[in-house]
């Protein structure tokens, strides 16, 4: 490895399964602080975040804006609770801080914003903006001759927004092989199942038609994700890459998985601890 960025501490001595477990547990504890939060999304995306932060990304936890880092952008700002959990697990944010989640003057507001949280690269929340910013960062890194990559997570709902496709076309046109998008296909949006709201499918052929290298995987299968990330990173063609991750909302907590799917799941006060207990019973090594 001649990558000048390879001095990053390797965090991989804990299993990815345990990382994903820890991310889920942190997210539940954070939601418990407010008695609410986008927990369904956080539990669904935990495996993607584990593979991103503990397999794919190069970064320095103690210096979140280290110039050589891979950028991880989250366009879907309402998933903040999930990213905070990953950033805590990665050591970028202290674990104590989760007690302030969503509270006045906290650095961990309900919707993710770059000006609040170390490690939060962009302010998401106005959905459909993320990929446009990622295109600019990927161009900027190329201008600086950096070997760092831009990872950008967005949601299936954001496939509805025109700007996503405008950016997708430019990413191909600009040959952005340093851009890796991950779309969370949880088949959920604010008004109901994503597939009933817009003709988002077939997602992979759409991106392929736009010139991207697309892979579709079970977003809750860690091995499949690792493989998809590796293949995406080593694709020799000068084109942007996307990992289309089918995830299950509330993954890991069966009684919540069984609940009627909705954008904002309601969890009764007593259920937060139940969720932690159930998760703990299956703690991986």
């Amino acid at each position: 490895m001649t990558d000048p960025r390879s001095d990053t501490p390797k965090l991989a001595n804990m299993s990815l399964a345990r990382r994903a477990f820890n991310i889920r547990r942190l997210a539940i504890r954070m939601g418990q602080v407010q008695g609410q939060g986008y927990l369904g999304q956080a539990l669904g995306i935990a495996d993607v975040l584990a593979v991103s932060y503990f397999h794919a990304l190069t970064y320095r936890p103690e210096d979140p804006y280290w110039e050589g880092r891979d950028r991880f952008l989250m366009s879907n700002g309402h998933y903040a609770i999930a990213l905070y959990s990953a950033l805590i697990e990665a050591g970028v944010i202290g674990e104590d801080e989760l007690e302030t989640y969503g509270s006045d003057d906290s650095r961990l507001p309900m919707s993710g914003m770059a000006s609040y949280t170390p490690g939060m690269e962009i302010s998401g929340g106005s959905l459909g903006q993320g990929l446009t910013i990622a295109v600019g960062m990927a161009l900027g890194l190329k201008r600086k001759k950096s070997s760092a990559k831009v990872y950008i997570l967005f949601s299936d709902g954001e496939l509805d927004e025109g700007a996503t496709w405008e950016a997708a076309m430019q990413a191909t046109h600009k040959k952005l092989d340093n851009l890796i998008a991950i779309v969370d296909v949880n088949n959920q949006q604010a008004d109901g199942p994503a597939k009933e709201i817009s003709a988002i499918e077939p997602i992979a052929p759409k991106f392929e038609a736009f010139g991207w290298f697309a892979q579709r995987v079970d977003g809750n299968d860690l091995d499949a994700l690792v493989e998809a990330y590796d293949v995406a990173r080593s694709d020799p063609q000068p084109r942007p890459r996307i990992v289309i991750a089918d995830t299950k909302m509330c993954k890991g907590v069966p009684f919540l998985e069984a609940r009627d799917k909705s954008h904002f799941i309601n969890i009764a006060p007593a259920e937060w601890q139940q969720a932690i207990d159930i998760l703990d019973a299956g703690r991986p090594a």
């Binding site: 407010q34 801080e97 309900m110 929340g125 817009s198």
Partner: protein, 341 residues
Amino acid sequence: MSAIRHLRHARKPAAAGKGLKTSAMIASIAAEGQKTRSAPFGHALVELAKTRPEIVGLTADLSKYTDLHIFAHAHPDRFYQMGMAEQVLMGASAGLALEGFMPFATTYAVFAARRAYDFICLAIAEENLNVKICCALPGLTTGYGPSHQATDDLAIFRAMPNLVVIDPCDANEIEQAVPAIAAHDGPVYMRLLRGNVPIVLDGYDYKFEIGKAKLLRDGADVLFVSTGLMTMRVLEAAEALAADRVSAAVLHVSTIKPLDVETIRRECARAGRLVVVAENHTICGGLGEAVAADLTRSGVRTAFRQIALPDQFLDAGALPTLHDRYGISTSAIVASVKGWL
């Protein structure tokens, strides 16, 4: 380059365990125990649609959060889910209007004002099309931070020719405004209060009319000129001030455009009163500046102050905290007015 980024992270971690207040998206603006009505916009539209077959409803993945789901359930064949695509929402509304229908299009105020502005401006307003744009989360009615806080929508839409701009105060006014904006032939932007919406104006024998400001309460020392939910707040403030022997009038201006300058000039010209314009909006370009400019142009001289949000991107946090912080809670208004007198 990275130094600039670091400056943005001057925030220190908050101390845990103090004041754990929620900044929930759908925080209600109703005070505890206040009389409310559920989904006044949705129910009023369902009623109206029974006699207006040209009405159709469109949303950009926010029917549940704009109360349009009530209409969607009652008239499923007249409801269009446009996906989370605000520009398509507005362009398609223009198209339906061109074919003779009357679209009621809903999203959050931020996304109409910012994401879809050009589509509203050229496809709808320039052609004077009959589209009614009804948007939730106006001004500072969510603690989610700048991505969801529509602090600039009145300024943005006031600057658009042909567009009527309405900022209703309560459930009573929304129910009256729905048929009134449908009766108006042309584009309308209306701020919505959704969910359990306070009922305030029932006690005032209030009649909503587009373009008419209404005096809700008379008083000798202060004239509040207010719009939207700030009218609810200044009515409370006027009560509190009365206990301190300050007599305050309230002129409710729910039509921001066209502005009822005759009534506003007449009330502001009455001698001896401090004029305080109150709005749930940035101090830039909303009702306050519209009134100030008109008074200056027309030569009406009066002491003048504004209750409005500062020219900043606002914090995330719990709504009551933020309303106090930015001076639009009832107690903050009372304190400001006392300081000015």
